[in-house]
Structure formats: structure tokens, C-alpha cells
Amino acid sequence: MQAKIETNENTISKGNALKHLLGKMDVRAYTMVAAVILIWLLFGMLNDTFLTARNLSNLFTQMSVTAILAIGMVLVIVSGHIDLSVGSLVGLTGGVAAIMSNWMGMPTSAVILGTLIVGLLLGMLQGWLVAYQAIPAFIVTLGGMMAFRGALMGITKSTTISISDPSFALLGNAYFAKGFGLIMAAIAIAFLIYSMWTNRKSRQKYGFEIPSFSLDIGKLVFFSLLIIVFVLVMNSYKGIPFPIIFVILLAILFTFLAKKTRFGRHVYAIGGNVDAARLSGINIRWKTMMVFVLSGLLASIAALVLTSRLSSATITAGQMYELDAIAACVIGGTSLIGGSGTIVGAIIGALVMTSLDNGMSLMGLESFWQYVAKGTILVFAVWLDITSRRKKAGK
């Protein structure tokens, strides 16, 4: 009798722990991942090449530019603004990079530094206009979208500049050696174990409830498997593509910034309730400007990747990318009202968009279908979000 009761209690507490975990990792993330898997399976069935290592490797490389832009866009949208200029900024800073590399013959390191500075300054200019001059971000960045595109045409004299420096071309086209990929996987898994360990110890020190050991191990095994599968699949083609490493590093860095620093916290507070944020002593203007600085900086990183991958800068480079980035954020659960959204969500959103593009191109569908499908998915995702929220509120 005694034993029976004990086991009962055990299962109850396990059930609670699972519920706790599921509740904490938001349900949205699961639907998103499920959506990606569904799209992949669908294209995999319709087309033999979609799920090959080569195509997946391509897909991730294709995704990288949108994903990098989406990371910056999440912060902008969370703070309650919008940045329509990132596409043109990618074009312009890409042009600047190509000019520095090809026309001026500067070494790659100088090219990278110069490009980043240009992106940062243009972002700062727009952020200053939005934050300190109180011009709506929509207008400022719409102006930026046109002006930057025009500037690109001016400085490149409307020509295509190709990149001849092989070391610059590596940025977007190289692959990590297979062994190196495995080492990175090992480091990542080691880091997962370490963070789980310190987290448990710290919670113990504070006397908080510690999640059950088996649950933590389960999570650990799941994520480790994900990492290993990813590396093995990439290795079975040429190794991990360079650009995807940028995306992963930036995603980690910005997730940390968003969740773990005062700056990130303040950005979410500003977007959630700007008056309450102001009355809590948060410097709204400075933080708002910094959000645009980061967006500009990320646009220039995306530009480096894109220019290098295409080995040239064209006057149409980056056109409409701002819309892809916004769509990725929105599909990934960022609210356009501001105050909520995650970087991981936006990256999954970018993966959804790119998968649709890639899959439909493979099937040889005409490009108009891609636009129709992407537009539909965007509206559908938001509709799904709004109805599920309404249901939740109705309860």
C-alpha cells in the first residue's frame, strides 16, 4: 500500500515537471518547429533532391542573410518600431565592401571593418532621427530605403562590381573542415552540459526547486542529438558552411543580449509599455537609438556574407530583404505591437520562408507561386496567432 502511494506521488510530480517544462518553452516554438518539419517532409515527398545533404547545406546558406537581418529586426520590432531600410542597407554596404575590396584593393580585414563602420553609422543616423527627433521609424527608414538604394547606384555608377580577392570570397562560400565541425559539436555539447550543471548548482545554492535530473538529461540528450545530426548531415556534403556559423554565433550573442542584459530587458520594457518604462527611469531615447545601430550593424554583416557569396555587388542586391526579415520575425512570433518576440523564433521563421523558396524552386514552380505562397503563409501565421491568443484570453 505504502509503495503504491509513493509511486503515485512520483508520477504526479513527474507530470508536473513535464507540464512546467512545456509551459516554460512556449507552445509557439513547438508549432514552429513542427511547421518546418512538415514543410520539409512535404517537399521531401514531392521532390527527391530536397532532403539531400547538398540541398540542405544550400538551404542553410541561402537562409543566412535573411536570418541575420531578422535578428536585428526582432529587436527593432520588439522596441515598437520598424526598419524598412535594411534591404537597401545590405545593398549599399555590400557596394561599399566591393568598392573597397576591388577598386581600392584593400585587404579583407580592412574591408570588413570599413563595411561594419558604415552600417553602424547609417543605423545610428536613422536611430538618432527616430529617437531624438521623434520622426516615426516608418518614415525615417522608408526614406533610408530609397536614399540608400540611390546612394548605391551613385557610388557603383550603376555597375556590377565583382570580387576578385579570394580571401573575401571565402566569407560566404567556404566550408569548415569536417574534423573541425566535429570538434565544434563537441564543444557545443560540453557547453550544454556545463551550463546545465552550473544552473542546477546555482539553483541549489539559492534553495530553489531543481528540475528532475532525468528531465535535464532528457533535454541534454535531445539537443546533443540535434547538434550531432546537423553536423553529420553537413559533413556528408562538404562540411558546415561558413555563413551558417555566423548565424549561429549571432543568434547566441543576441539571445544573450535580449534575455540576459539590462539593455535587452529595457528594450522589451520600452516596447511593452513606454510610459511605464520611462517612469521606471529607463533612458528611452538612447536605447531606441542603439536598437537601430544594431540593426544597421547586422545589415552590414549580412551584406558581407551576401556580397562574398555572390562574389559581386549589384545595384539590386538586398532588394525586398527587409520584407523577408519582417515576415520571418512575424512568422516567428514577434508582435508588431512591440514588447514580445524571440530571436530563435525569428530564425525559425527565416527557415520557413527559405524552405518554401528553396522547395518551390526545386520543383520548378514559376516564381510568382513563391510570392503567392509566402504571402499566404505570412497572413496565415498571424491569423493563427491572433485566434489562438483570443481563445486563451476567452478562457
Binding site: 542584459t261 520594457a269 511593452g272
Partner: protein, 503 residues
């Protein structure tokens, strides 16, 4: 013969009876003042009358000229000749005077607006209210007083028989008040009935023929203004018995922490108007200073301005611990040791979509930050501390504050400011809209803080609360302190008399 009879009106909100069998009768061609404290039910009654709360959501009957009426929407009330002019004027700034007067009722021939006709008629109405501007002037270029006359012209153009004015003089200058009063007398002579809601006793006695007093959702009395005086009206307004008990403990005030000298604040929108006029104030360590006054007296503006959060320009000296300080932003105010619990916690106090611990650490995030990184467990610890200290009822620290009850939300706001460890805590209506249990916990907390040497300024419209908790009481009217009273000498009557201008 009454132009308007409201009989036995009862209106309930979840948990509160806002109106309890209120009767209100207005004669044809009289000015009838409606008086009562904040929250006595004046606005609710007028919302019932103007159709904002449709028939069926309240009990009772409305009769116009002896005929029973049911208003299902605002349009119905307008058709019956009732117009309301709100404190916040409802005009479209970018449109002309004429367009505003006829908004929604433009003279039309075959679907086309007859502009000449419209401006011709508008000019006629402007003449009636004595406003000498062209009907083609944009509203935005007019002063508040002139805009109010446009509102009245608009109401008259709808063939209004009963005109409701809610605190019409709150934003007016003296000469504008004179013009308005003249106009109201003239309207009365033309047979229009006016319902005049005001806190200001001198105005009420100058204008009104009759006065009805509401208190706690009940009609207390209707008086002929010739037979009444300030004292009588005020004592009827506040005449409740003090049954609630407050946890008064003896405070021993120490040295002065805050001193405000010759402090004036300009209105944020209306140039030339001052919301705070040349005030002086001292606050000592370990005391509760109550600031009483009616809505619009300038109490919130004073608090916001001291906290560096009011947009209007401030002049004068502020000294903290004897040293002059310049507070130009909220950051500087927090650094100087101030904290402000705002009146409107949902709009100004909390980020409703965020959870309890995040809101708690919002104003003192540096306490849980190390090398620029937020220490999650440290944050949980602080969040938990204030949930425990204030006995906030919540399922978890990660509950979004939007889902909490009013009292628990207020505790989260208080927790946020306690974590910032202020020397001077300003509480603006700290117990508005929260349940009795939470109220008393907040009072106990105030006593505890005072004991620890915090100086508290409590702004409140609830007289029993002011009387029950303060050591000293300052009464504010029209942006100045008109009276200072020790708590032992304070009564509801002498505070209200000062607040309404009776003295």
C-alpha cells in the same frame, strides 16, 4: 414642471454599486449644480443620462418633459435634446469651427455637402454663443475657452434642451470663466436647462438655482441655492460617518529631507497656463504628508514634475537633504532617492505583458546585474522577497502582471519602488480600485516604511484615508496649497471646504 426627471436610478458594476436609487430632477430653464466628491457617482449618472450606458444596463426611469424615455445609444439622447460637454473637449483639431459644429450632421443636397450653407449656419450659432471668430478658422488655433464655446454652439445646433457641463472651468482662465458664466445665464433665460458639475463652491453659488448633492452613489439632498451656503453643501458632501479604522501609529518626524521653494510648473499643452503656482513644501524623514484636493487641482502634476516626468517646464528650488538638486529626468530622480507610485498603475506603472519578477526589478535592475549580465537567480530571489514581504497573491513569479487583481498589481508596483530603496516615496492614489484587505496591507506597509525613516507623500482623494494615515495634510486647489492642517485638527469638512474654495 420638470424638464428632466431621473427616478430611482441604480447602476451596478461587478462588485460595486455606483448608483443606488438616485433621483435627480431638473426644472425647465434652470441651472442645476451637481456636487459630490470624486467617485460620488456624478459621472456615472451623467453617462446614464447621455445614453453612454444604454437602457437596460441600469434600473430606474428617465423622463423628459414628463415623458418616459429609453436611450439605447448616444444618438437617442441627442434626439431627446440632451448634450454633454466633457472636461476633455471632443473636437477635431485639424478641422474648421464650422466643420466641427456640423460634424455628422452636415447639410447635404444629393450627397454633396453644401459648404456655403454650412458656414452660414455655423456663423449664426457662433453669434448666439458670442464667439467672434470666422467659422472657417481651424479649431487648433483657438484657445481652450473658445473651443468650449464652439462645443456649446455645436450642442445648441442640435436643438439641445438640456446641456450638461462637466467641470467646464477646469482649464479656463478667469476672463474665459466670466464669458462662460454670462453665456449660461443667457441660455437659462432662453429656456435651456443646464446641469453644471463642479467642485468649485464660489462658481456653484454664483450660477446655480438648485444644487443636488451626491455621496457614495446616493442622492443626499436637493437644495435651493438661496437657502444654502458653503458649509452646508460641504458637510452634506462628506457627511459620512468615519467607521473604517486606520492603523495609525505614532510617527516621530526627524530632519527635513525634501524642501520645495517657490515651485511653479507650466501646463504641458496650454502655453501661459500654470498647473502649479508658486508652492512651498517641506517633508521630514519619518512622516506621512497627505495631499488632499479635488480632481484637477494639480496634485498629480506636482508629483510627476518633482519626479522629472512632467513635460511642462518647472521653476523654483528643490532641496534634498538640504542640498539643491536639479531633476530633469526620472533617472536623476531615482538617483536623488525619489520614487513615485503613479495613479494609473496599468498605464504608467507596469508592463502588463511581463511577469512579476521582471516588473519588480525594472527600476533597480543594477542590483541583479553583474558585469552587464542579469543574474536570473538573483532576480528570482528579489522578486520572491517582495512577493513575500507584501504578501502578493500569485500562482508564480512568472505570472504576467496583467492577469493579477488590482490590489496585487499595486503590490508589484510598490515592490518595484521598494527595491529601488527610496528616501522619499510619493504615492499617488495608492489604494484606488483595490480591495479592503490589500488596502490595509498597504497602510501597514506605509507605517513600516516610515519607521525605517522613509518620508512619504500620499496624494489621495479619499478623505478618510487622508485623515487616517497622514501626520500633516496639505490641501491643494487650482495649483496652490490653500491650507495646511495637523492631523488632529483635520476633519472631512475643513478639508473639503478648503478644497472647494469655501475656506
Amino acid at each position: 414642471m420638470y424638464a428632466l426627471e431621473m427616478i430611482e436610478i441604480t447602476k451596478e458594476f461587478p462588485g460595486v454599486k455606483a448608483l443606488d436609487r438616485v433621483s435627480f430632477k431638473v426644472k425647465k430653464g434652470e441651472i442645476h449644480a451637481l456636487c459630490g466628491e470624486n467617485g460620488a457617482g456624478k459621472s456615472t449618472l451623467m453617462k446614464v443620462l447621455s445614453g453612454l450606458y444604454p437602457a437596460g444596463t441600469y434600473q430606474g426611469e428617465i423622463q423628459i418633459d414628463g415623458e418616459k424615455k429609453e436611450f439605447h445609444q448616444i444618438m437617442d439622447a441627442e434626439k431627446a435634446g440632451i448634450a454633454i460637454i466633457h472636461q476633455e473637449l471632443a473636437l477635431v483639431k485639424e478641422m474648421t469651427v464650422g466643420e466641427n459644429i456640423f460634424l455628422g450632421a452636415e447639410p447635404i443636397k444629393r450627397g454633396v455637402i453644401q459648404w456655403d450653407e454650412l458656414y452660414h449656419q455655423a456663423a449664426g450659432w457662433l453669434k448666439k454663443v458670442g464667439l467672434k471668430v470666422s467659422p472657417e478658422t481651424k479649431i487648433g488655433t483657438l484657445g481652450i475657452g473658445q473651443q468650449q464655446l464652439v462645443e456649446i454652439a455645436k450642442a445648441l445646433s442640435k436643438n439641445t434642451k438640456i446641456l450638461i457641463l462637466d467641470e467646464p472651468t477646469a482649464a479656463l482662465t478667469e476672463s474665459e470663466v466670466e464669458i462662460l458664466m454670462g453665456l449660461l445665464h443667457q441660455l437659462r433665460n432662453n429656456g435651456v436647462s443646464c446641469i453644471y458639475i463642479s467642485h468649485k463652491m464660489p462658481e456653484v453659488f454664483r450660477l446655480a438655482d438648485s444644487i443636488t448633492i451626491l455621496r457614495d452613489g446616493r442622492t443626499i439632498a436637493t437644495l435651493d441655492s438661496k437657502e444654502a451656503d458653503d458649509d452646508k453643501v460641504v458637510s452634506l458632501m462628506v457627511g459620512r460617518e468615519l467607521t473604517e479604522r486606520y492603523p495609525r501609529v505614532k510617527h516621530t518626524p526627524l530632519e527635513t529631507v525634501l524642501e520645495v521653494r517657490n515651485y511653479s510648473v507650466s501646463h504641458k499643452d496650454i502655453p501661459g497656463k500654470r498647473v502649479i503656482k508658486d508652492i512651498n513644501l517641506t517633508l521630514r524623514k519619518g512622516e506621512i504628508l497627505g495631499i488632499a484636493g479635488l480632481m484637477g487641482a494639480g496634485r498629480t502634476e506636482l508629483a510627476m514634475s518633482l519626479f522629472g516626468a512632467y513635460e511642462g517646464k518647472a521653476e523654483g528650488e528643490v532641496l534634498i537633504d538640504g542640498k539643491p538638486v536639479q531633476i530633469r529626468s526620472v533617472q536623476e530622480a531615482i538617483q536623488a532617492g525619489l520614487a513615485l507610485v503613479t495613479e494609473d498603475r496599468k498605464r504608467l506603472g507596469l508592463v502588463l505583458g511581463m511577469d512579476i519578477k521582471t516588473n519588480t526589478t525594472m527600476a533597480a535592475l543594477e542590483k541583479v546585474t553583474k558585469w552587464g549580465t542579469i543574474h536570473t537567480n538573483e532576480e528570482i530571489k528579489w522578486g520572491q522577497k517582495y512577493v513575500d514581504d507584501l504578501r502578493t497573491k500569485t500562482p508564480s513569479l512568472e505570472t504576467t502582471v496583467g492577469t493579477l487583481s488590482g490590489g496585487n498589481q499595486q503590490k508589484v508596483v510598490l515592490g518595484k519602488w521598494l527595491m529601488a530603496d527610496p528616501k522619499i516615496l510619493i504615492l499617488d492614489e495608492p489604494t484606488r480600485g483595490i480591495d479592503v484587505g490589500a488596502k490595509y496591507e498597504i497602510y501597514h506597509l506605509m507605517n513600516k516604511l516610515v519607521e525605517r525613516g522613509v518620508a512619504i507623500i500620499m496624494i489621495s482623494s479619499e478623505l478618510p484615508e487622508v485623515l487616517g494615515m497622514s501626520d500633516r495634510i496639505l490641501v491643494m486647489r487650482d495649483g496652490t496649497f490653500v491650507k495646511e492642517i495637523e492631523w488632529r485638527e483635520a476633519t472631512q469638512e475643513n478639508i473639503m471646504l478648503a478644497a472647494t474654495g469655501g475656506i
